[in-house]
């Protein structure tokens, strides 16, 4: 274990909202509760937070500049440096981490929120696609994922049975996760007997539609040690994007994931837990391969995005679950992965280590 210095940054608290098919709460209310929960978990108050960054999406919210009212959740007084990314909260965490690296402030909160139940995600997703070649075709995320699944199946890199096995495993693992939306014991042959939603994907290959939010608190070196008995250190953090247009990429690999993992130093020693934003079953083996994970790494023991998928928070929850694994002693070193864009276009890798 390397000696941590003042420039190292640690996760010291977090909170995750209930994961629901339909929430009656506003995004701001969901955020307000998880920010309260996260700063409470860190043993601080909002007044001690120097910087905040939120990840959310106006197309999901159905409102322009929806993030402006979400800032109420941070607390209007005392004033804070604030930022927002139109990205999953994992990228908000990245920005907060970069902000703390500047060294002039010590504590930051990152959050992610999404209420995707209010409209049809199949109509929302095309809005974020290439505006000339993809959006006018109504190219939805499930169809684009299915094109990648078929490419993997045709190449023999995965089978429909393996995909169903992943669904069964994650739904079973989700039984231990109070936040999970989809969980239980399922029979592989029953799942494979179901109709396709869009061939080659069946219902169990898809993530649920989920409303939810999460928040995480990070702090710099000495402040982290002062505030927390068990700070969880961010030892590597990188994100890489590749070409947007799926037809220009080899869909059977994830160059961006591999590059980000290398930049984050993931291969320097084994991880015991990997929380991956594999929103579709076939993405899991692809990501495991691109991250170079060994057989000893437990993949998505929380159930992962197949158990709860609050768009714009799903990726940050992966980092939180990877941190939770260390806090609960299930891992000494873990990795959180987040993804954005069609067919795993952009990928973020966050490597975590405990104190000892």
């Amino acid at each position: 274990m390397a000696i941590r210095n003042q420039d190292d940054i640690a996760i010291i608290g977090w909170d995750v909202s209930p994961m629901e098919r339909h929430t009656a709460k506003t995004e701001t209310q969901m955020l307000l509760e998880v920010v309260t929960g996260a700063v409470g978990d860190a043993g601080i108050t909002r007044a001690e937070v120097d910087f905040t960054c939120a990840g959310s999406c106006d197309y999901v919210a159905g409102q322009a500049f929806s993030f402006v009212q979400n800032t109420d959740a941070i607390g209007a007084w005392p004033p804070k440096r604030d930022s927002h990314v139109e990205m999953d909260g994992a990228w908000a965490l990245y920005e907060a981490w970069v902000r703390l690296l500047l060294g002039d402030i010590d504590v930051a909160v990152a959050m992610g929120s999404g209420r995707s139940s209010t409209a049809d995600p199949a109509l929302i997703y095309p809005m974020e696609m290439d505006p000339f070649y993809l959006a006018p075709l109504g190219a939805d995320h499930v169809s684009l994922a299915a094109l990648q699944a078929r490419a993997l199946l045709d190449r023999g890199l995965v089978t429909e049975r393996q995909m169903a096995e992943i669904a069964v495993r994650t739904r079973r693992d989700a039984l231990g996760n109070p936040y999970a939306q989809i969980r239980g014991e399922f029979d592989i042959d029953d799942l494979l007997g179901a109709d396709y939603v869009t061939a080659p994907l069946r219902r169990h290959d898809l993530p649920p539609i989920t409303d939810g939010a999460c928040a995480i608190v990070i702090a710099r070196g000495d402040r982290a040690r002062q505030l927390s008995e068990n700070p969880i250190w961010i030892t590597g953090f990188a994100h890489v994007s590749e070409l947007h247009y799926p037809g220009m990429r080899d869909l059977c690999t994830s160059h961006a994931t591999r590059t980000a993992a290398k930049a984050a130093g993931l291969d320097e020693s084994p991880v015991q837990v990997a929380e991956l934003q594999a929103s579709f079953t076939h993405e899991e083996p692809l990501l495991v391969q691109a991250l170079g994970l060994g057989p000893d790494a437990a993949v998505n023991p929380s159930g992962g995005p197949l158990a709860a998928n609050p768009i714009m928070a799903t990726g940050l929850i992966r980092v939180i679950e990877a941190a939770r694994a260390i806090r609960e002693g299930r891992a000494r070193r873990s990795v959180g992965h987040a993804s954005s864009g069609p067919c795993l276009q952009q990928n973020l890798v966050c490597v975590l280590e405990g104190n000892e």
């Binding site: 339909h22 929430t23 009656a24 709460k25 506003t26 701001t28 209310q29 307000l32 920010v35 309260t36 909002r46 197309y59 159905g62 109420d72 959740a73 941070i74 607390g75 209007a76 007084w77 209010t118 409209a119 049809d120 199949a122 109509l123 929302i124 095309p126 809005m127 505006p131 000339f132 070649y133 993809l134 959006a135 006018p136 075709l137 109504g138 190219a139 939805d140 169809s143 684009l144 299915a146 094109l147 990648q148 699944a149 078929r150 490419a151 045709d154 396709y196 939603v197 869009t198 061939a199 080659p200 994907l201 070409l243 247009y245 799926p246 037809g247 220009m248 869909l251």
Partner: protein
């Protein structure tokens, strides 16, 4: 049961195309498919830059590809959305057009899923009334033969593209908002007073942003219906969709009596625009039983607006700063 409000947002974009995408879409209008040379490769659809190096690719490097091609991946859409180009079951596919090294995302109009296979050959079926749009190919169809369509397409190169989408949202209404709206239907203003700082909020706000706590039914207070104009604006309407006003009109901010609450952008009635002023004492006017539902304004409330009380103006130079 949570109440929801339904709203449809339309996204009517006009996009400029630039030299490469414009040429590609102009080609489609002419029933030709263009790729672009990029080193040893041909990219279709054409990009404006080399994805490996970022170097600009130029229209001179455009080359015709296809029209037939090979399906390299596909999925079967059994329940199309309103945004999909076909309204019966179809396949999305990655299609490597003859002469291209990358694949085009488009749709295949096949009779059934059984007619689809990786490696199958497809050709474009052109649309009539082409405008220079990715859907000028109405779909690819199985086989080697493209299906031509009548009409020559636009005479000039295509430089702009329309994109229209709409999304319907069903947004839950929080209990606080519902109770506040019911109050205005019944002719009164509901406030929520923070038990910590005492600040009072209107509109059913669910929390105090200063103390970051939830506000509950037990925090409700009835607000007064008289106040003073603190600031105003005279709006000259432009006729965007939904704007029903045609002549310049006033919107005022009203500081309620005895409460630290400013109601913003309120309707002022029976006051000519040149007599609107800071310090004017006003009182709320509600729709009568027969007028209910006919009130035009910014919300569904039965508040008609604010009318002068006839009391002397308030002379306070700090009032102007109160806009919230």
């Amino acid at each position: 049961m949570t109440q929801v409000t339904e709203s449809t947002i339309s996204f009517p974009y006009k996009r400029s195309l630039g030299p490469v995408i414009g040429a590609f879409l102009t080609g489609l209008a002419q029933q030709r498919i263009l790729g672009i040379r990029c080193g040893e490769r041909v990219l279709c659809p054409p990009l404006e830059w080399d994805p490996e190096t970022g170097v600009d690719l130029v229209p001179e490097d455009l080359v015709e590809v296809g029209p037939a091609g090979t399906v390299t991946s596909w999925n079967w859409v059994s329940a199309p959305t309103e945004q999909h180009p076909l309204h019966h079951p179809f396949a999305f596919a990655l299609i490597r057009l003859d002469g291209a090294d990358t694949t085009l995302v488009h749709v295949v109009d096949a009779e059934s899923i059984d007619a689809m296979a990786t490696g199958m050959r497809v050709a474009p079926r052109w649309k009539e009334g082409r405008t220079g749009h990715i859907t000028d190919i109405s779909a690819f169809v199985p086989g080697e033969q493209s299906v031509a369509a009548a009409g020559a397409g636009p005479e000039e190169p295509v430089t702009m593209m329309d994109y229209n989408a709409s999304i319907t949202y069903r947004t839950p209404i929080t209990e606080n908002t519902e109770r506040a709206e019911r109050a205005t239907e019944d002719g009164w203003f509901l406030g929520l007073r923070c038990p910590i700082c005492g600040r009072t909020y209107t509109g059913g706000k669910g929390y105090c942003p200063i103390d970051t706590i939830e506000l509950k039914v037990t925090d409700e207070v009835e607000l007064p219906q008289t106040g003073v104009v603190t600031n105003y604006t005279i709006i000259t309407p432009i006729q965007y969709p939904g704007q029903t006003e045609t002549d310049p009109f006033a919107r005022v901010h009203v500081l309620l009596d005895g409460f630290d609450v400013v109601m913003g952008y309120q309707v002022l009635i029976e006051v000519p625009n040149d007599e609107v002023r800071i310090g004017l004492r006003v009182s709320a006017v509600w729709a009568s039983e027969g007028e209910k539902g006919a009130v035009s304004g910014w919300t569904d409330s039965n508040l008609v607006g604010w009318i002068p009380t006839g009391e002397p103006d308030v002379d306070d130079p700090t009032l102007v700063n109160r806009i919230n």
